[in-house]
């Protein structure tokens, strides 16, 4: 296969499809999504048979059980894929929305209308169900999508791609609206990242290595999320029960995800009352504690934290703990070691709640709630295609609106510039 020619043709076809998708009615887009959902149900056994090939190869390669679990399109996962598409059908279509219009002194009426971004390149690892999630969100928002999945999921992704193509065809939507790159060669990614005339946005999802590779090789704008080093700051005078509840949830409920707490910052005045019981509870739940000297003084069972712990994203039952003298010290720590992802303050103090909300430079900042709420569904966006920790275009969870942009429309009566 000539990888360059294949990718260039795919991108050219995607651009053509994007012109059609941009002016397709919400009704017709929903029909295409419904056809996709039906086709997945109808052809589940075909999809699962191809998925079995990937699983067998992964077992042979000695990949971990956790990896194989993420790779598996079980009945439950297929059901969730279909439900995901049905949810997306139910979401409002952002395309065509005009927030307000205004009138210029010369009588021109000006507004900004939401339009799709165009063509999105989506580069991701392992989970083949993401193929359907991403395709559904892009289709609903009027974007064409080119998907480059991991080599371990290639058979699953190609099977899903065939099912989607047939469904789009049956619904009268352009087939090139959703395309899966048919090769596992890394060169395909590199060539994809060079199509700046044809592709409008790259979204990488996976480990930090993949994302750094994409950022360094892309001439196309990238929306990315390196890591989630999320903090909870327990303020002086915070309700100890609430603080314990929030911190425990933020660390333990699902430690392997990006919005789990990695470092707990505790005000000096709260430390004596709060830390011993909290850390005992963590230890009981199997959490390994790495503490600063002030933490160790109050909880001698903990390990001593090193400088490497403060910027660490463990994604595991490990927690760094630091006692701070003031909220400013907490904010400085977050600015120095955080990843602009999610920060929580637990407090009873009005002024400090306000100041923390303003000063913490992260995509989601919460007062008295778990960091685990940084999620498109939880925050009310309906669904998410990823979380951006860089500020351009979107900061935080990205739903349908973040897959659009706005152009200016101007209604005149013959106005010229003087």
């Amino acid at each position: 296969m000539d990888v360059t020619a294949t990718i260039t043709t795919m991108a050219t076809e995607a651009r053509k499809a994007a012109r059609t998708l941009a002016i397709m009615s919400t009704e017709r887009k929903n029909e295409a999504l419904a056809a996709m959902a039906r086709a997945i149900v109808d052809r589940k056994s075909e999809i699962q048979a191809e998925n079995q090939k990937d699983i067998a190869a992964a077992e042979q390669a000695g990949l971990t059980a956790a990896f194989i679990d993420r790779l598996t399109l079980s009945d439950k996962v297929v059901e969730a894929m279909v439900e995901g598409l049905e949810d997306v059908i139910g979401l409002p279509d952002p395309v065509g929305e005009v927030g307000r219009m205004w009138k210029r002194p010369n009588g021109l009426q000006v507004g900004r209308v939401r339009i799709p971004l165009g063509v999105i390149g989506f580069i991701y690892e392992s989970r083949p169900n993401v193929t359907i999630d991403a395709a559904g969100l892009c289709l609903k928002s009027g974007n064409a999508i080119i998907l480059k999945g991991g080599s371990e999921a290639i058979n699953s992704n190609l099977a899903l791609s065939r099912v989607i193509a047939d469904a789009l065809d049956a619904a009268g939507a352009p087939g090139a609206a959703v395309q899966v790159v048919p090769t596992t060669e890394r060169q395909a990614t590199t060539v994809l990242l060079e199509q700046e005339e044809l592709i409008d946005l790259i979204i990488p999802r996976g480990g930090e290595g993949l994302i750094r590779f994409v950022v360094q090789n892309s001439r196309i704008p990238v929306l990315k999320h390196y890591k989630g080093v999320c903090h909870v700051y327990v303020d002086a005078g915070a309700d100890p029960a609430m603080a314990e509840n929030i911190c425990f949830n933020a660390k333990v409920q699902r430690p392997g995800v990006c919005n789990a707490m990695e470092t707990m910052l505790v005000h000096h005045d709260a430390a004596d009352d709060f830390l011993p019981a909290m850390l005992a509870k963590f230890e009981e739940a199997g959490v390994e504690i790495r503490g600063c000297p002030e933490t160790l003084r109050r909880f001698p069972g903990a390990q001593a934290a090193t400088e490497a712990d403060w910027p660490a994203e463990y994604e595991d039952l490990i927690l760094a703990v630091k006692v701070v003298d003031s909220m400013d010290e907490a904010l400085d720590h977050i600015a120095a070691h955080g990843s602009n992802h999610t920060e929580t303050i637990v407090t009873r103090d009005y002024e400090r709640a306000r100041r923390f909300l303003n000063a913490a430079d992260s995509s989601v900042v919460l007062v008295n709630a778990s960091t685990r709420f940084n999620d498109g569904g939880q925050l009310g966006l309906g669904a998410e295609i990823g979380i951006s920790t860089s500020k351009l275009h979107a900061f935080g969870p990205m739903g349908l609106e973040e897959l659009t942009t706005r152009k200016f429309i101007v209604f005149g009566d013959g106005q010229i510039r003087t």
Copy 2:
């Protein structure tokens, strides 16, 4: 000078300043802007003396009169710089704005608040007055800015930088909020483009060569504008007087700018009545016509257009003209040769006006008005730092709001995720 060390230090200082700027009140930012305006007035002779050095060097290097004109900080240009700052003081501050808040079923109250982007790298050519315009817009929107100007304006830019630094200092604002790169070496640009941990956005302003260099070497998101190949489509049945007025204004009023018309598309049914008089008027104004065969048939004095004319940005008194059989042909032509900048339809037809507005994939699409209105001031944004022809983050003129992003803020009462 160790360029890498210099740039890295500047970016580090800018990032620190950005933390202060992000929470600075509108009042204090306006005071700093007013101090800048006053300092420019007070130290005009110092600024102009340094500017004279650049002018003398440009004359010695044999640069064109037009180039030297753009370089010159005349009394009038200095006055315009000061007025520009006063205008920015009068504009509303987008930072802190929360469009709406909503409530989740679990009681969480969620909203998105506008925040500055952080640190902006601004890379530009010749005109030193842009230094003040860009600094003013960034300061008002709470961003720190690092300016890398052209080598021909280095003395002027450094003089302005000293004046700004003293003004910021007097107003109690961080001096590193506005920094001018003190060297003309190209390596400084390359190093600047590698500071992805410290700089949030790069805005290049200048020729296509500069912009392509920036895009290819930047690891930081870039908001850019390659070129403006703007079209006016004169529909069948359009009011001929209105069409003539709009087309003439779009081409002739200021041919050297990006929102001037470069190609005029005329519906076949309008061509006989419209073209001869229109083209005669253009010719009288010194416009060189490059027409398709159908144009030449109606106006034999024109030159024959070649394929190279359709995507050309002349920025001069030259116009490509094509007769089309339908609006769809016009839209296909724009999709194939346009630059996503500005398109106008002149029409009396409701349905075609609506269809053109939807289908033309450009940052500003107008009905019955000149392309020359694609400008932040003209469209009511107050001021602009540039025009983006790519869709991420901003599409079209960028004002203060486009120099900000939004983070999520969440008010809870102890909510955890279950």
